[in-house]
């Protein structure tokens, strides 16, 4: 089966000479039909430009973009308009026409596509019903809340029954509750209508809750991509690790660990919780089998792509030999980090990420290798838990 969208060494350069910025740098990527594909990156990483290459709001400087089997790189404006009409797009600022009512906004793409007035009326009613704002048809956008505006945006984007929906930071201007509502709606769009969705975001929670597969962008390049669960459960690149750290601070930072050791001087271990390994059951069963006391002192479990992910930090008490045997047992099934005891502490492997220097300004293309992969990630399964934005939420991410 051909991919819904294929990028082949797609590159977009803005400006010329010394001012030239490689907004998208040699991206090769396939987005399959019917999936929700997340593109995550900090602002200036090039993700908005990448998504605009799909509907040719921006055109590539070199490389190719293939949409639905059609190479759109060679198309001229009138043909591109047809391609665009088959791709829906929603925006961070909703971009509704303030001079038209909700129904007028949703009807606009149908007018462009040449639908009759009667058909438009029927379709608009159907769409507003689908997104749950049928009662707002005659209201002007200025009177709607953010969440309602985005629903109108989604209805408008779906009007001509596109096969692809592009969501450019579609929830970034919404509060957390509304964000969840809109994400749930996008999930429905994907499941009930079978529409391929490309979600551009800088918010890890968005990708975590709906993306099947994900690409992480930095300085115009895709630095890591794959199944959302795999990418975030074992992030290889530092940017990815930082994103994971924003969604779940399940591992104690060195400062937190310092306090923990004060309260819990005994042996502490951090056990990874994954879909297939190291579930809470394993930990508790192990404790029972080996006759070891255990107290959960830190941790968190959340979901990525609807599968469990996180870790538990446990203080162990009892016979030393039994503790060693338990740790050995757990190591059979999952990652275990031995934190030692207050008297004999061991370094946390993930603190390395926190101490690493901050990445350079994301808008400058410097520092990217020819293959677009940044060198110098951090070691083994380390999750950054630096003291930057966000709060420590023991179990806070569990849902």
């Amino acid at each position: 089966m051909t991919a819904a969208i294929s990028f082949r060494a797609a590159t977009k350069v803005f400006g010329t000479g010394r001012d030239a910025v490689r907004a998208v740098d040699s991206v090769t990527l396939d987005i399959a039909r019917g999936e929700i594909f997340g593109v995550i990156g900090y602002s200036g990483a090039g993700k908005s430009t990448l998504v605009r290459l799909v509907n040719a709001l921006e055109t590539v400087t070199s490389g190719e973009v293939i949409v639905g089997g059609q190479n759109i790189t060679e198309l001229r404006e009138p043909e591109l308009r047809k391609v665009r009409a088959g791709i829906g797009m929603i925006f961070q600022q909703f971009n509704l026409m303030s001079s038209r009512t909700v129904a007028g906004n949703v009807a606009y793409p149908l007018k462009v596509a040449g639908w009759s007035k009667q058909d438009r009326k029927r379709r608009v009613a159907e769409l507003l019903d689908f997104v749950g704002i049928a009662d707002k048809a005659r209201t002007y956008p200025g009177k709607l809340s953010g969440g309602q505006k985005q629903r109108v945006g989604i209805a408008r984007a779906l009007a001509t029954s596109p096969s692809i929906l592009l969501a450019d930071e579609a929830t970034s201007a919404l509060d957390p509750d509304t964000t969840q509502d809109v994400l749930t709606l996008l999930q429905r769009v994907n499941r009930e209508l079978g529409i391929t969705i490309v979600v551009i975001t800088h918010e890890m929670d968005v990708v975590r809750s709906i993306a099947h597969r994900v690409a992480v962008m930095e300085q115009g390049a895709v630095i890591e991509h794959g199944a959302a669960y795999d990418v975030f459960a074992s992030p290889r690149q530092r940017a990815t690790q930082r994103f994971v750290a924003t969604t779940l601070r399940d591992r104690p930072s060195p400062e937190v660990l310092e306090r923990l050791r004060h309260r819990h001087p005994g042996r502490m271990i951090t056990v990874s919780v994954r879909e297939d390994v190291g579930t809470g059951v394993d930990v508790f069963a192990g404790l029972r089998t080996h006759g070891v006391d255990g107290a959960i002192v830190f941790g968190g479990i959340t979901e990525i792509d609807e599968r469990p992910f996180g870790s538990l930090t446990v203080e162990l008490g009892g016979d030393d030999a039994a503790i060693e045997a338990l740790i050995a047992d757990l190591r059979q099934t999952t990652d275990v980090h031995d934190l030692g005891t207050a008297a004999d502490p061991r370094d946390v492997p993930w603190s390395a990420a926190a101490e690493a220097p901050a990445p350079e300004d994301e808008t400058t293309p410097a520092g990217v290798g020819p293959d677009g992969v940044r060198s110098g990630g951090v070691g083994l399964g380390g999750v950054s838990s630096g003291g930057d934005a966000g709060v420590t939420r023991p179990f806070g991410g569990a849902r």
Partner: protein, 220 residues
Amino acid sequence: MNRDWSELTPILVESIRETLYMVSITIGVGGFLGLVFGVLLYATRKGNLLENAFVFAILNVAVNIVRPIPFIIFITAVGPLTLATIGTTIGNDAVIFAMSIMAAFVTARIVEQNLVATDPGVIEAARAMGASRLRIIVTVLIPEALAPLILGYTFLLIGIIDMSALAGYVGGGGLGNFAIVYGYQRFNWEVTFVTVIVIIGIVQLAQVLGNWLARKALHR
């Protein structure tokens, strides 16, 4: 004064009629041309829908040259063009011709400035829906900027009334001519004051109407 007014009233009424005639033709012709020029100025600017450095530069320079010329000088300066186009350089029609040209360039700037404030995201959304550039200009750009455009045209209307007062200098009529000929030149202050009050009335009416329409166009 009573002796005068029985004679003057019909002339005043005729002057009002002439002013309204000159102003309405000018706002129709000049306003429409100005809308086209203004849209082109906006759309040909770098990064916009019809990006075209050449057209933009020509229009931009033309507007900058014409706009600052005092209108009384402009009427005579476009004389040859007026003669070539309508066959005379005197009378109301000659003034209307000059006013329309001036109004077109003034309007171009007003329109451009109001379009610049349009949210580029809305334009992008329309492009993403597959709308053509011309369709976007007519069905998105102008409707989205309608309220400020109405206020801009109200401002323009008042400027045109101002310009029309100079018609008397080249053999035209209207309220300006009335005030000069029957007021100033005959030392009749009363006529001048009455004319001023009539003009204030017309301007107020235009402004109230413009504000009302703009508010209706603004769906907030």
